[in-house]
C-alpha cells in the first residue's frame, strides 16, 4: 500500500511536469511560428517577438515546480523516504491536477493569443503595450492553477 501511495505521488508529479510542459511546448511553438513569419519580413521586431513567444513557456515552469514539491513531499529528493498511504498518494496526485490541466490548456490558449499579438505588432508596432497585456491575461489562470496545486499539496499531512 505504501508503494502505491508513492507511485500515485510520482504519477501526479509526472503529470504536472508533463502536461504543463507539453502545453508550453505547443504554445511556444505556435507563437514561434508567428514570430518567424513576422521576422522574415521585419527582423527588427526580434526583441518583442521573443518576449511574446516566451510567455506561454511559464506554464511548463509552474508544472516543474509542482512536480518538485510533490516528490519532495514524499521524500524522493534526498533525505529519508516517507511512508505514504494510498489515500495520501491519491491526495498528492489530485493536488497536481490543477497545474497539469490548467497549465496544458492555458499554455496553448496563451500561445494562440501571443501569436495573434505578434501579428498585431507586425501591423501596428505602436500598440506593443496592448499586445503584451492580452496574452498576459491568460497567465492569470495558469497562476490560479499553480496556487491551487500549492495550497492542496500543503494541505496534505504526511
Amino acid at each position: 500500500m505504501e508503494l502505491l501511495g508513492v507511485m500515485l505521488a510520482i504519477l501526479g508529479a509526472a503529470m504536472a511536469a508533463g502536461w504543463a510542459g507539453a502545453g508550453s511546448a505547443i504554445g511556444v511553438g505556435i507563437a514561434g511560428e508567428s514570430g518567424a513569419g513576422v521576422m522574415t519580413e521585419d527582423p527588427g521586431k526580434f526583441g518583442l517577438v521573443l518576449l511574446l513567444q516566451a510567455l506561454p513557456g511559464t506554464q511548463g515552469i509552474y508544472g516543474l515546480l509542482i512536480a518538485f514539491f510533490a516528490i519532495l513531499k514524499v521524500g524522493l529528493l534526498g533525505g529519508e523516504p516517507i511512508a505514504v498511504t494510498a489515500y495520501q498518494g491519491l491526495g498528492i496526485f489530485f493536488a497536481c491536477l490543477p497545474i497539469a490541466i490548467g497549465g496544458y490548456f492555458s499554455a496553448i490558449a496563451q500561445g494562440k493569443t501571443s501569436a495573434a499579438s505578434i501579428q498585431m505588432i507586425a501591423k501596428r508596432p505602436e500598440e506593443t503595450g496592448k499586445a503584451v497585456i492580452l496574452p498576459a491575461m491568460v497567465e492569470t489562470y495558469a497562476v490560479l492553477s499553480l496556487l491551487m496545486s500549492i495550497i492542496l499539496l500543503n494541505g496534505i499531512k504526511l
Partner: protein, 337 residues
Amino acid sequence: MAPAERFAYAVARLRAMSGRLLEESLIQRILDCEDLDSALKILAETAYSAWLVELKGSGDFDRIIEAELSNAYTEVQKFVPDERLVQLCRIPYDFHNVKVLVKSAILVREGGERRYDLLTSLGNIPVEELVVAVESEDYRLLPFGLHRLLPLCLSQWEQTRDILQVENSLDAGLFSVLAEIAVATGFDSAVRWVKGRIDAENIRNLLRLKRLDLDIAGAASFLHEGGWIAGEKLLALLNEPVESWPRVLSFSDVSGVFANVPDLSDLGALIVEMERALDEYVSAILARAKYEAFTPENVIAYLWAKEMEAKNLRIALVAVANNTDRTIARGLLRHGR
C-alpha cells in the same frame, strides 16, 4: 496540429507584408501629381521602387505594376501551406492568357497579327508553355481543364464565328475550375469568395446585357452557375428596371452593392460604378479575415488586397498620364483594406 494552426507562420508574415500595401493617401498623392514623372517619384518611396529601374519609359508603368503583383504571388506561393489558395487567385490570368492566344490564333487565320504583348506573367501556367501548347496544337498537358476547353473553343469558333460565345465558354470554364478548386481546398472562406466572385461577375454581365437589351433566352448563356444566386432569379432581373434590382435581390448580400451606387437610372455610368462597387463587395466577403489569426482566408484577403492596390495604382497612373479628370479617377478607386 489543427489545420488552422498550419497558417500561423503564413498569416503572421502576410500581416507584416500587408503593412507595405499602398495607403489610400499615397494613391491620392499620385492623383494630385501634374505629370507621370512626379507620380513615379512618389512610387519610388514604396515597395514598387525595386521595379522602377526596369522601366523603359515613364509610360511603361503597367510593367512595374505587373512585376510587383507577380512578385507578391511568387513570394506567397513559397510559404503558404496550401498552394491552391494562391492558384485560385492566379487562374483568372491563365484564362486571360488563353483568351489572348485563342484570339491571336483566330486573327492569324484571318490574316491579322498576333497580340502576344497582351499576355501576362501572372498566371499559374508559364506563358512560354501556353504559347508552345497553342502553336503546336498540343494541349494534352495543360491543367485546369484547358486541355479539353481550348480545342473546344477553337472548334466553336470554326462553327459559329462568334467570339463572344468563345469568350463565354472560357469564362464558364474559369468559374467552374475556380469553384472546383475552392471546394477541393476544404476551406469555407475560399468557397464563399468564389461564390461571391461568380455573383459579382453575373451582375456585371447582366448590366451589360440590359444595356444591349438582350432577351432572357439570349442572356442565359452569359450567366455562370455556382454563385449564391440561382440563374433563373438573375435572368428574371432583365424584365425589371434596374432601379428595382436591389429590391428583387434583397434576399442576398449582393443587393447591398446597389446602395453604394449613387444613380441607378443612368445605365452607362452605372456599369462603370458597379465595377468598383462589385470589387468592394468581393473585398467585404474577406473582411472578417483581419479578425482571425490563423484562418486561410487571410491568404486570399492579402492577395485580393494586392490586386485592388494594382487596380487603384493603374487608375491613378492612367489618370495622371492622360491628364484626365481626377474627380472621376477618385470615384473609381477601390476602398476597404
